[in-house]
Symmetry: C2
Subunit: 646 residues, 2 copies
């Protein structure tokens, strides 16, 4: 079973997952099929919702003589009349809910294997949230021990080994780490149902994060038992790939409608506030008048329409880089979920999330509230600014936020300043944080939409960053034309703002000092005739950089790469490939993850990189698709998209 990243945003990803019964796209949702209580048949699910994968419970099938026999004789796919991949559960949840459940942990693996399950699940020990740490420790010990034994029996079935550890982050990470080591194919995160029921999303996010931190990133992660669509976006943003839904049926049985923003009881509604085919087909009264069974069936369909639509929305959001916007919008609908986002504002979690965050996106960044400023992308922007940027001059004039791009908005004022003194930095105190004028066209500074008035937390946070940024520097705040009087006259003859701009962007993108070295020599800057913006940069008649109009960032050319290769010490900016890949890369082919030997740990998805061999010879340049940890873990898929080769 292969698993490879195709698109990504936040710590979420769109992957191709190949199973014995076909390849599917993640994130994906598996409706739970109970063959004893079939509300909607798998066949109908394919037709209505485009269902690609389902999950059923092997414990229930095993416990029913007729089903058991049929499953063993004809296979689970025949039994369910579903040709796509089928995951089976083991009965862990039943052991948790009912006391008198007796399942042999190894027999149930053999049974799942024998009925032809695509993904079987170990019988793990459910870690209840009210366990003591010692109990939880014993639980994961037993879970890991069972996982080890189960793997020997799995045959050609993929085996899902569940992460437990109750509410103890260190135990979750430990369990995840152990389970990763033994070669599990699939990682359910278990024991979360009671947290969902109590709307303890704060703990839920903690558990996802601590589990993910210990997991091998190259295998699918399944948030087991979290079937409410409200939770899907944030779970995907933290790296979950699969969800299962028993909720569609459970909520329908209680006459409750799932929505991406919450739940509505049929009795509380006066109209059907939804456009799905079910809610468009009936009026509320008509729906209420249906016989009980049909009513439940129709509400269950509504629930699956909504659940699958949320998955589609998430995949769209990943592709166009707006997953955090979706996460924050959903959180704004529920105070408990809003509380939960605070978990993502903790330093160590931001640090972890930042590794997966692409450096640029197709869409502008939208502010939605006081969580926005803590997004990993903005966190990185601030860090790169503090660590990679160096101001050229001693004095800085600070302008308040204005329209974008700032250079145009403050054109007159800037010209007035430069006429008097061009040895001065211009800085914008923007809602997103400090923006040196020379970065004003770069993503996300130009491509972000903040309200005129942001919230106080954002203001405070940004002020802190600004204070760090201007510490020990001479500052003049622009308060109108009279500010000019405060500026001393000073003129540099070699002053060239384009050069300053190119240098600063290079530093931010490639590392401190990159700009200075890239511009040593005879420079030629080609600008767009239409927009006047920088397009191509030549050094000593060689093309070293191109600037993308969409995000104001550089594409590296081989000539530019050679310079960076010289100035930055190994392994900085490098992806190191083993010798088997060298010839392919010299043909311009992309770097597949399995050929990556090592990688600069500071490279992030969509960063420009130097592709080198083990002897550090520069082979090509490209755009990272994966970060270091992923490159070293994944066996499938592209690690670096090669753009040019030597």
């Amino acid at each position: 079973m292969t698993f490879e990243i195709k698109y990504r945003d936040a710590a979420g990803r769109i992957c191709k997952y190949a199973t014995k019964h076909g390849t599917i796209t993640t994130p994906n949702l598996m409706p739970v099929i109970n063959p004893n209580k079939l509300i909607i048949s798998p066949k109908e699910m394919i037709k209505l919702f485009g269902t690609e994968i389902v999950i059923t419970n092997s414990y229930i099938i095993n416990g029913d003589e007729k089903l058991r026999k049929k499953a063993l004789e004809e296979g689970i796919h025949k039994l369910l009349e579903f040709k796509g991949p089928i995951m089976t559960d083991s009965g862990t949840f039943q052991s948790y809910v009912y006391d008198n459940v007796n399942i042999d942990p190894l027999e149930i693996i053999e049974f799942q294997r024998d009925i032809g399950s695509d993904i079987g699940t170990i019988l793990d020990v459910f870690g209840k949230p009210d366990q003591t740490k010692e109990e939880a420790k014993q639980g994961i010990k037993e879970t890991i021990s069972r996982a080890k034994k189960s793997i020997k029996l799995k045959g050609n079935m993929a085996l899902a080994c569940t992460i437990q550890g109750s509410i103890y982050p260190d135990l979750r990470t430990k369990c995840a780490h152990e389970i990763s080591k033994i070669g599990s194919d699939f990682f359910p995160i278990g024991g979360v149902v009671p947290l969902m029921e109590n709307q303890n999303y704060h703990m839920l996010l903690n558990i996802i994060l601590s589990s993910k931190k210990g997991l091998n990133p190259s295998k699918p992660v399944h948030l087991f038992g979290a079937g409410h669509p409200m939770i899907f976006p944030v779970a995907v943003a933290l790296g979950c790939d699969f969800f299962d839904s028993a909720a569609y049926a459970k909520y329908a049985n209680d006459k409750r409608f799932l929505f991406s923003e919450g739940t509505e009881k049929l009795d509380d509604l006066t109209e059907l506030p939804c456009s799905c085919p079910i809610c468009s087909k009936y009026t509320l009264l008509e729906l209420k008048k249906l016989d009980e069974k049909e009513k439940i069936r129709e509400i269950a369909k509504h629930n699956l329409y909504i659940s699958f639509t949320e998955i589609k929305k998430i995949r769209n959001a990943i592709r166009n880089g707006s997953l955090w916007e979706l996460v924050e919008r959903r959180a704004n609908s529920n105070p408990y979920l809003l509380d939960a986002l605070k978990v993502l504002e903790i330093g160590k979690n931001k640090l972890w999330l930042e590794q997966f965050e692409p450096v640029r996106k197709i869409n502008a960044l939208f502010y939605t509230g006081n969580h926005t400023i803590h997004r990993p992308l903005i966190y990185r922007c601030h860090n790169r600014l503090l660590n990679r940027y160096s101001a050229l001059f001693k004095e800085t004039v600070i302008f308040p936020d204005g329209k974008k791009p700032y250079f145009r908005f403050y054109y007159k004022q800037i010209q007035d300043i430069f006429r008097k003194n061009n040895e001065i930095n211009i800085l914008i105190d923007a809602k997103i944080g400090p923006v040196p004028l020379e970065l004003d066209e770069m993503y996300p500074y130009a491509q972000s939409i903040f309200p005129k008035i942001t919230d106080d937390e954002t203001g405070k946070h940004v002020t802190k960053i600004l204070e760090k940024f201007i510490k020990n520097k001479k500052i003049i705040c622009w308060i109108g034309e009279k500010t000019l009087d405060k500026i001393k006259s000073a003129k540099s003859k070699t002053y060239n703002f384009d050069k300053i701009r190119i240098s600063a962007i290079s530093d931010i993108q490639f590392g401190k000092g990159a700009g200075k070295e890239l511009l040593k020599g005879k420079l030629k800057i080609v600008k767009s005739k239409k927009t006047g913006k920088i397009r191509n940069i030549y050094l000593n008649n060689k093309h070293i950089l191109s600037m993308r109009a969409s995000d104001g960032m550089f594409s590296l050319k081989m000539n530019g790469a050679s310079i960076l290769h010289k100035i930055f010490k190994f392994p900085k900016l490098r992806v190191i490939v083993n010798k088997d890949a060298t010839s392919f890369i010299k043909e311009g082919k992309s770097v597949f993850a399995k050929f990556v030997k090592d990688c600069d740990p500071e490279l992030r998805p969509f960063d420009e990189c130097l592709i080198v061999n083990e002897k550090d010879s520069l082979l090509a340049i490209g755009r990272c698709i994966l970060n270091r940890e992923e490159m070293l873990s994944f066996d499938y898929g592209v690690a670096v998209k090669t753009r040019e080769h030597s």
Copy 2:
């Protein structure tokens, strides 16, 4: 044409609107039908979306010889093949967009009347946002003058007289006031299209508010030209009843999908992120492959599914009291809309909004972000607390926020305090604001869901209210058991917390001093055996009050009303009905608006009230449905729901 309020929330309302062609429910949406460019027929709209009313442009029909003739001969309903109410526009917008449009303002009224339009529109002067105030003044002068002349020609057609005034709030209010005086039947708010196009929602809300402030509340208000569903919730919350949508077709022509949270271009999508019948019927690829005309038609259908669903969501939200939640959620999706909500935080706007806000709701109040604390309901809570509540004792112990109800959460600590000193007030410093212990079961204190950590603005705002509330009082902050040492011993023998509770709730609900007077005599308190909560209160063996379990507020009984009638001077708490209604009310019938002579200006929707005749004899008690201004304006519908009569 009658118009009456059936349900309400925020300053929004669900009304029955009777036209010549049937009665419809507002808020409602009129798709724009262009008979020359029919994308979806009105007939199909009824079937697919349950469309109840449409709008078409009489200027276009008048300008096309064939359409003109048919409309005059067979009527507009035959022409459009639509039996429900039809509104017609006059060509104002065309005059604004194109220079060479020549329409006679009175001929176009006659034409609309003659083709049988249900609601015709005057040819008003479009107030552009970049007009000077003088130009805008001239514009409304001409608009009002045309309205006056048009009314004489309207026949039995309802006439919509548009409110203009560009971006000048005082001119909007003035225009609205003048237009109300001359007997218009329907109030479009005009000139907003350019604001929608520039996403200047801040100004849009200002304009809606200033227009509404001048309008007679008993007629439908139509936000003319605002067809994006994202804007519907906030517009309804401010009192708009109708929207028209040309957007469904205009956006479809550009291959853009409307969503309640914004817009998506077909080309930016990789999957259809929606569950409507169109998006459920096709894959993205299939939709893209449709021929151009069919593709536009299908996207237009999607756009109308979404638009009508948003209207249904709004109506549901009004019925269950969650309209502000919906408004805030939508605003969180768009930074410009978020900016716009700041308009509603301005004192005079809160003051205006508060008049329409029901005093209690079916659902709990949900926090969604830093606007929540400015909701009119919370604003009123704080005001009633500051103005109507009197603390019993000199000293107050303040507890931090905790679980609800607070009495149970802090039971042990409270008992410890009371054992030592029961002449002490207990106050909770809650996220929603200060909550005296005796109000802890009352709406919204017990029925509100805030996150554990609220935002800084909310914190600051609440602190300000708390400081006002405890000003000049002796305060002890509870910081654990050692706080007990700071409390001096003092015991009152007559102390009875139930009595304190009843008294405080009475003061908040009915007015300062109500509690003291209501409890003078032999008191009997009946509690629920199941919950232990107060249910019924008897004074001298007479039933004076019942407490609702759902919101912890009192229903007034006739015996209680008599006491309040004695202690509160006319017109406090009264709705005064004219003599024609007296006999009906004595039969227990509800008070219709047209029989109301006057009313206590402090009564709010769902407040308990005393129904009296012009001589101030107490006839009955009831629950207000309308506020004073509405009672005096509406000709139709219930003003007070009578509960008991003498």
